[in-house]
Symmetry: D2
Subunit: 138 residues, 4 copies
């Protein structure tokens, strides 16, 4: 349900997201996840997260596809936080198709581990990001 | 100038559009063109153009890059028609970045040739598409 | 280990697979999975699987990222079958980077459910595909 | 003709390169160009061109599509240099499909302008790249 997700970030399909079978290819759903989480982080923190000393590297993702999508569907990516650790954030995600109401098309999981931008060694989550994450956690 | 384009179709960048150099990769601009032209056609005709007996196959494209873009930029694709033939449409396109005003980032060209959906032999432009194209031509 | 995977399908990275952080974006790993499984199926069956009366629709995918990749890395996608059902195939996948030896970069899971090409209702796995799958199962 | 291109760089199609019409989407051809030129440059110079003080930014591209492609086609990107300037390189490109012989599928143009990696202002082509380019020029 949409109410399970504090954020419902808008993402638009693209023509080439559709594959040979005339529906959105399974890979594209991950670009919706990736785009929504990062766009929300940039918006919620008000900073360019790519310039912070620590960056979020993706450690794990998954997606369960429940309904076909097709260009030019307009989507909402539901974003919730399942676990806010000291060095990682586990997101619970969903994809809804816009229509007369939002219809669930997929659910997923997305794990960011924070690393030093130069050394790529694990470090604590930057303060700006933690603050944004806390706002939508628990 | 934006006034050179009867249509200014909204397209959003995605996280992975940025490449190793931290700007939108040259390839992604073509997905903006492709998406905008087809989304506009679907919207302007009110039909799923992929189900028409004739479909538009891309015969030629080009892009001249004038300004770097970067996620999460929001864009407008300017769409104009340079030549409306009996079997083909030549589009003149542009990409503008949204900001306090629309800033030109690229200009391009995109040629659709209409072919029979089954045989893939050239055929006249379908009536629905011709009507939509005429509305923004000349 | 590579010996856990009966098939090691070659896939090449592309320039634009690298994202803002100078490594292969998490989304691209799924295009390696998708490409390898389908290319192997086409090769192993000797038929264009997209023309069969039943097609494999992706129901679930996941990936665990263990090592960064970067263009122009050459890869091998390890393909094994975890479960060969009557209507679905669960693949266990891995991505190895070519070098002096194959180095594990990611592991994943990929579930194909077979559906009728027209109605998109679940149907048994086509004989050609079942035969190919059995050859690398158990 | 293949003999018009001193380099014939191998590129493989991917499953999701095919779009709704069951052929390789027009956008994907540019990822073949992009990948082939950069992979060849890395190979021919023996250095990671992304770490040089000057990098090649794409100023202009075009493609003329002559033949449909479809996954799992294996390709060769023909690379020739039309003009080797002091600050830019104009490539003449082609895409051939592998088969009993190489069949022409598209021709294109790709312009790299060299800029300082930090300031992004135009600078002379780095020596390593000029040497590689000269080897295949005129």
């Amino acid at each position: 349900m949409t109410t399970d997700y504090p954020v419902l970030w808008p993402v638009a399909t693209r023509w080439a997201d559709n594959d040979h079978y005339g529906h959105v290819n399974n890979v594209a759903y991950y670009s919706y996840f990736d785009t929504a989480v990062n766009a929300w982080l940039i918006d919620a923190t008000g900073v360019d997260i790519r310039q912070l000393p620590a960056i979020g590297i993706v450690a794990e993702t998954s997606c369960s596809y429940t309904k076909e999508l097709s260009f030019p569907d307009m989507l909402r990516v539901g974003i919730a936080i399942d676990r806010l650790g000291s060095r990682s954030i586990v997101y619970r995600l969903a994809i809804f198709r816009e229509g007369t109401e939002l219809e669930l098309a997929a659910t997923g999981r997305f794990v960011h581990v924070y690393v030093d931008r130069q050394t790529r060694r694990p470090v604590p989550i930057p303060a700006d990001i933690r603050t944004a994450a806390e706002r939508i956690s628990g």
